[in-house]
Each structure stands twice: as C-alpha cells, then as structure tokens.
C-alpha cells in the first residue's frame, strides 16, 4: 500500500467515524430533549394521573410511561396511608378493590413485566416512607423465580430495591442487577420513533379523565387497577384460540434455560422479613389461559414445580395463597381471558370474592 493509498484510507476512516458519531450524537440529543415517556426528565403527566386518582377519578391514556416513577409518585404523595397493596406484573393489574372483601385502603401497584426485584422495590418505597402496608398481596409469575431475568424496566426505583435488600441482609450487600442503562435509549430506534410521534402529538393531551371504560385506551381506576383498551378486548370476538395457539410465548422469553427455581432464597427472605415487620402477606397466582397453560406445561414443567413449591411454602409458613396458574382449578374457560396470559374481569373477581381480607 502506497503513501497516497494510506492517506486515502485514513481520511475514509476519519470521515466515516465522524459521520456515524455525529448522527448518533444528534439522535441522542433529540431523544434526550423530546423524551416522550419521561426516561430522562420528570413526566408532568404522571403527576396528572396521580392527583386525579387521589381525587377518585379514572384516568385514560397510554401505558408506555415510566411506571416505576409513577409508583414512586403514588407512594410519596398519597393523601391517606395505604393499608393494602397489590404488587405484581401486568397479570395482576386487574385486581380491584371492589373484588376484595376488605375495609382497608387499597392500591394496586402492578407494573408491566415486573420482576421479583421490582415488587421488592415497590415495598422499598413504603419502607423509605417509614410505613409498610398492613397487607401485601404478592402477585407472582413464574419468571420471577428466574435469577437475572434481564428485565430492564423501572430503573428509577432500583435504589428502593437496594434499600429493602439492605434491610433484609445488612448494609454491605453486593448488587448485580444486570440491568440495562437508561442511556441506551438515547440511540434506540424505537424510542426515536416514539419521540418523533411524540413531537407530532405534543399538542394533544396524552392523559385524560374518563367516566367510562369504553375508550380505546388503558384506563386506570382510583385504586390503581387497570382496564385494558377496548381494542385489546375486541380481539376476543375472533376467538381466543389463535392467541392460545401461540401459548407460552410471553412466558418463553422469560423462561430460556429455566430449569430451576433460582430466586427462592431472595423470595423467602423477603416474605419472612415482611412478616417480621408485621405485614400480612398473601400470595396470588394469576391463572393462565387454558389452552396456553396446557402448552406451557408441556414445555416448562418448572411452572408446575413453582406452584407446588409456593403451595408447600405457604402451607409451612401459614400464608394465604389465592389463585393458581392452572385455570381448571377455578373452572375458567378460554373465553374468560382476553389473551393467553391475561384474565378478564371475572378471573380476579372469582378468586378474590371468597375470603375476608
């Protein structure tokens, strides 16, 4: 390679890297500034939701916001002490106060794709406030027993997870959450597209108060529980069958190489700690759509093992366990689900209507 060639290649590399880095920097600045779901800046919309829920109103809007941050705002600003909470994933979002025979104040903190660590972080929020709820309903999904399951949401409440972990095990605990940095979203195409849409829609209201569930959006009730959009439920009219045929897909992504119950110690220590602090713990296992459940059972026997383990654990510890991953135990049909993981109103209602909590 001659000197001229060397210089040409050198300039080609320099220009190439310069263009790439400049474009990436521009995309990053754009995403940081627009930040449509409030990853980098406080989202005023979250305060709008919280304040209206506190006033007893229902709020409709998208769900792609920082749910962890939203839960923090709820716990820190609630005008009354909350006595009973539900913590879980989207599969626990349908647990409503009116389904439960209780006089206690109630809030459902379920968050999309939550892990055990996320559940602990929510309780950590209460711990920092100096008052744990009297009753804690842990809505448990099988994937929560997979260590390092790489779910990266709800970065903003990680310190509260650390707080409760510190309380359980002592201060010098090493934490390896293996979570994705929020700064990766700066050069994420999906987030860029969301922000481009966000810029277009900026003038229209993202969240709004509603008196009816018949809107094509997520609706949050004052008790924190969520109604899925009318459109989502509409899929049921074509029959649950096609969704059920894909059964286990939602579970699959969390179940890769999932052979053993790996978060067992963390879970047990967490429950024992809560009980020592005087909180009553109730476990809730949300059922899976019947066809999907059969499919999952074939592929992931671990799901049955987890339920057996939880039943054994609750029996030994004298803890109330409600629900079952197996829909047959409560005679649920495919039509009681609007997709393969999420039950309709009747599911949580039937399970919770029995006991006085």
């Amino acid at each position: 390679m001659g000197r001229d060639d060397r210089i040409k290649y050198k300039w080609w590399i320099t220009y190439g890297l310069l263009v790439v880095l400049t474009v990436l920097a521009m995309v990053a600045v754009f995403n940081y500034k627009v930040d449509s779901i409030g990853i980098f800046h406080a989202d005023k919309g979250l305060f709008f939701i919280a304040s209206n829920l506190f006033e007893g109103k229902m709020v409709a809007g998208p769900i792609n916001y920082n749910e962890g941050e939203f839960q923090r705002i709820i716990v820190e600003n609630s005008p009354i002490p909350i006595d009973m909470v539900v913590v879980g994933s989207s599969r626990g979002m349908g647990v409503r106060k009116r389904f439960i025979r209780t006089e206690k104040t109630f809030f459902n903190h379920s968050m999309t794709a939550a892990t055990l660590e996320d559940l602990m972080a929510i309780i950590g929020l209460y711990l920092v406030q100096g008052r744990l709820p009297r009753t804690i309903i842990l809505c448990l999904d099988p994937w929560m027993f997979k260590e390092k399951n790489n779910l990266t949401k709800w970065q903003s409440i990680v310190p509260y997870y650390k707080k409760i972990l510190g309380e359980i095990y002592g201060k010098d605990i090493e934490i390896n959450l293996n979570r994705r940095s929020k700064y990766q979203e700066l050069i994420n195409l999906e987030y860029t597209l969301a922000n481009i849409k966000g810029v277009k829609k900026r003038k229209s209201k993202k969240f709004y108060i509603t008196k009816t569930m018949e809107v094509n959006n997520f609706v949050r009730e004052p008790d924190g529980s969520i109604h899925f959009p009318h459109g989502t439920k509409g899929e049921r009219s074509e029959g649950t069958q096609p969704l059920a045929q894909l059964g286990g897909r939602g579970l699959e992504q969390y179940s890769k190489d999932f052979y053993a119950i790996l978060n067992q110690r963390l879970f047990e220590d967490f429950v024992i700690y809560l009980r020592k602090q005087g909180s009553e713990v109730i476990l809730y296992l949300p059922p899976i759509e019947p066809i999907a459940y059969e499919k999952i059972k074939e592929r992931y026997y671990i799901v049955i093992e987890i339920e057996n383990y939880l039943r054994h654990f609750t029996l030994k510890q004298n803890i109330l366990l409600l629900g079952s991953y197996d829909p047959k135990k409560y005679n649920f049909l495919s039509s009681d689900f609007f997709d393969y993981l999420h039950g309709d109103e009747i599911v949580a209602k039937r399970i919770f209507e029995g006991p006085q909590l």
Binding site: K8, Y9, Q184, Q245, A260, K295
Partner: protein
C-alpha cells in the same frame, strides 16, 4: 459479551484496539499480547464469569499436553490422553443430560438430570485445542509460550463461535512486525466487514427470527404457506445470523491485522450437497475432514467403507451441533445425501444447473427443519404443513383473482396468522433469499473495498441503521453449539 452490544461497539473494541497499538508502538509487544489475552478473558467472562476457571483449566491442560508432545515426539498415548480429556469435558457439559435421558428411556433407571448450563463456545474452543494437539503430534504446530498459546485459544473475535482456527495460520501473524502497527486499509476493511455483519444479524436475521420462532415453537398447526415461510425464514435466519457473526469476528480481528479464515462462501448458491459443505461453516468442514474423515481412511478405503465413513462423519457433525436426536437425524440426512450424490456421479448423468440448485436448496431447506425443531413432533408439524397436509390458505387479497381455486379446496383468509406474519413477510423472504443468492458475499465485497464516497455512504448507512436497531438481548444461534 455480544458483538452486537453497545458495550462491545462503543467501549470494549475501541479500548482494546487503542491500548493494543499503543503498547506495540512503545515496543511493549509482550505486554500487548498479555493485554489482548486478558481482554479476551474479560470478553468471555462478561457474560458469565463462572466459566472462566473452566476455560483457563482447559487451556492449562492442553498447554501441558502440547508441551509434553513437543518434548516426546509422536507419543500416541499422550495425544490420546489429550483428546480424551477434551472430549470428556465436552461430553460432560454438552451431552450428559442427553445420555441420561436416553438411558432412563431404555432402562428402568430413573436418574435425575443434571441440568448443566452449556458453557458458551465450549464446542469451538475444544475443537480448536484438539486440532492444536493433533497438529503438534504431527509436527506442524509448536508453541512454547503459555501467553502465546492462551492468546491463540482465547483471541476474542473467534472465541465464542469460531471460525475454528489452526495454530499455524494465526500465531505467526501476531509476530509479523508489520502487523504491530496500524494498517489503515485493514482498519477500513475491518470496519466495513463488521458493519455488514452487524446489519445481517440485527436487521435481517432478527427480523426472520420472529416468523421462524412462531412457526417452530408456538403454532400448533401450520398451513402450506405458513410452513414454507417458517422453514425458509429459519434457513435464511441461520445463514444471516451465523455469517453475520463471522463477518463481525473477521472484521474485529482485521482491526488488529489478524486475518481469520473465512467460514462462508455463499452456501445457498451450492449446486450439490458436497458443494454446500465446501461453502457452509468451512472451518468445521475442514476440521471434520482433517481430524475425522481422513484418519478414518479418507478416500483410500473400499467404497462401502468410504460410504460408511461419510455417514459416520456427518453423524458426528450432527451431534456436534447439539445433544438431540433431531441433530443426529439432520447429520445423517446430509451424510445420506452425500452418499446418494456419490452414487449418482457414477451414472455420469449431469443435471441442468438450475435443477441441481433447486434440488440442493430444497434438500438443505428441508433438512434444516430437523436442525431447528426442538422435537420430532415440531419437525413433522412443519414438514406436513409444507406438503399442504394442513390445508392451503391464500391471502384474502387474492380471493377475487383466484376465486376458482376454492373448488380445489383452497381457502382465502389470514394466510400467515399462526406465525404472526402479514403480506410483507413473503416479500421480505424473497428479497433476503435473492440477497443470499445474487449479491456478492461479505468477503467478496470487502476484498473490493476502496476508500471512495460510495463505500463511505454504504458503511455509514449500514452501521447507523444497525446501531439504532440494536436489540440488546438477542443471542447468536451458534452460541449453543
């Protein structure tokens, strides 16, 4: 660490590159090698540090056996110990549960499964080291330095998924004086190759993965169109995924002035199964030829013996890819096809090239179904669908134009519903198939990389779209082998 991760692209690779050439510039060549070796360990352990002692132990064992082989030339027992040690490790980690499952099926024993998680890249670093021991035994490789040997095994671009390298083709490159200074042409070619690989993996393979996964793993039944989209998606996914990975490995390595052997040469252009294996995973084919097929007798034995050896070699190729009967069957299918081809050649009847291509591609595509399916039931599901035994549903959009086909039992509706595809899905598959057949492969493209504006635009477009599209949790299909 994944090549298609922010950590690798923005932190690991630039840092290793800068420090390596800085140390070489200061004439600290040993320090540069140590730096590269330690970085490679970090690269390996970044995913799961628990297996660092395993790879370190494997390296020490093979280095000790290799050193003894250098001392006591042509010592067969030593070589046997070395090979058994390596295969023992591989068998324990990769095949133990498979063995126990089959034992439990055949006997009344009910032995518990060990559920051993497969250490990443174990098949690759084990084969690399077996090759080294055999080469040392034959006198075609010698390595006295532990640092050099460790670098040879762990050099991060090839560590996790190959190419499977030979000592003599890599290690001398680390000692060339000219390779210790920056080579701008290599850097440009390396960056270009890396960007192509990233694009193949992130944009093409991951897109195809959705339909392949849905069809193989989740759908309970597949219609004709769905089954063909499923199998073709996987056929193309595997090629773009693995060749994309290899491009990134070769590109990364080229930044350090190290040329790794190529692994793919447009395999789907092959006109026979034999031709396919000269183009697909070339370094594995080379390994199996040199260390299994030829030691078994190669072409020097009687015809029936040769055919048996061919079948045995491909049975092992199948097993190498995974501990399962579907992999065994896949290997046997390829072995059987090679035998048929060999017998056909004796008839001296030459098929037209398009027909040869069609038969070869059709066979390879159908055989991949067994390779991908987790169970025989899943494989049968896809194959029966491909034969139209679960009905034929055409897109609704064609219902007016082709309404007469209803009389033949064809239906119109959501033709790709079970795999969550839409009208764009078949079009994309056709585009990707044409890309793999008609376009230059990455190695050909890189060989012609000139520092001009067109290549600059291609590079920037390809790398930017790939980075913005990065999926942080995608995994390479070949890591599990």
């Amino acid at each position: 660490m994944l090549f298609n991760s922010y950590a690798y692209i923005f932190c690991f690779l630039p840092l290793i590159f800068i420090v390596y050439f800085f140390l070489n510039r200061k004439k600290l060549t040993l320090a540069a090698k140590i730096w590269l070796t330690l970085s490679s360990f970090f690269f390996y352990g970044y995913w799961n540090p628990i297996y660092l002692p395993l790879i370190a132990g494997s390296i020490l064992f093979n280095y000790a056996v290799g050193s003894a082989l250098l001392k006591f030339r042509k010592n067969s027992p030593l070589l046997i110990i070395g090979v058994i040690g390596n295969l023992g490790l591989l068998i324990y980690f990769k095949y133990m549960d498979f063995f126990i499952t089959n034992l439990n099926t055949l006997t009344v024993l009910n032995l518990p499964l060990l559920h051993i998680v497969l250490p990443i890249g174990i098949s690759f670093f084990t084969f690399t080291q077996i090759a080294y021991l055999v080469d040392t035994y034959k006198g075609s490789a010698q390595e006295y330095s532990l640092i050099n040997y460790t670098l040879f095994v762990t050099f991060f671009p090839h560590l996790l998924a190959g190419p499977i390298i030979h000592h003599k083709e890599i290690m001398p490159q680390f000692d060339y004086r000219r390779n210790k200074v920056l080579n701008y042409r290599h850097i440009a070619q390396g960056l270009f190759l890396f960007s192509l690989g990233l694009f193949k993996k992130v944009i093409i393979a991951d897109t195809l993965a959705t339909w392949a996964n849905n069809g193989f793993d989740y759908a309970t039944t597949l219609t004709f169109l769905e089954a063909w989209v499923t199998s073709l998606s996987f056929t193309l996914q595997l090629y773009f995924d693995f060749s994309g990975y290899t491009d990134m490995a070769l590109g990364s390595s080229l930044l350090f002035n190290i040329k790794l052997p190529i692994n793919f040469n447009s395999p789907y252009k092959a006109l026979s199964v034999q031709d396919f294996w000269r183009r697909w995973h070339i370094t594995l084919s080379r390994f199996m030829r040199d260390y299994v097929y030829i030691p078994l007798g190669g072409n020097r034995v009687s015809e029936p013996h040769l055919l048996f050896n061919l079948l045995l070699t491909f049975l092992l190729v199948g097993l190498w890819h995974g501990a399962g009967w579907t992999f065994v069957l896949w290997g046997l299918l390829h072995g059987g096809a090679l035998i048929l081809e060999r017998l056909w050649r004796k008839t001296h009847v030459n098929l037209p090239r398009p027909l040869s291509w069609f038969l070869t591609f059709g066979f390879v595509n159908a055989a991949w179904v067994f390779f991908r399916a987790r169970t025989f039931t899943d494989a049968i599901k896809v194959l029966t669908g491909m034969c139209g035994m679960n009905g034929i549903v055409l897109p609704e959009i064609l219902s007016h134009t082709l309404s007469g086909l209803r009389d033949w039992g064809l239906e119109f509706g959501l033709s790709l519903r079970n795999i969550e595809g839409d009208i764009k899905t078949p079009l994309m598959i056709i585009v990707f198939l044409l890309l793999s057949l008609l376009y230059k492969n990455s190695d050909e493209m890189v060989a012609g990389v000139r520092p001009n504006l067109l290549n600059l635009v291609i590079f920037c477009t390809v790398i930017l779209s790939s980075i913005l599209y990065l999926s942080p949790y995608s995994e390479y299909l070949y890591f599990r082998f």
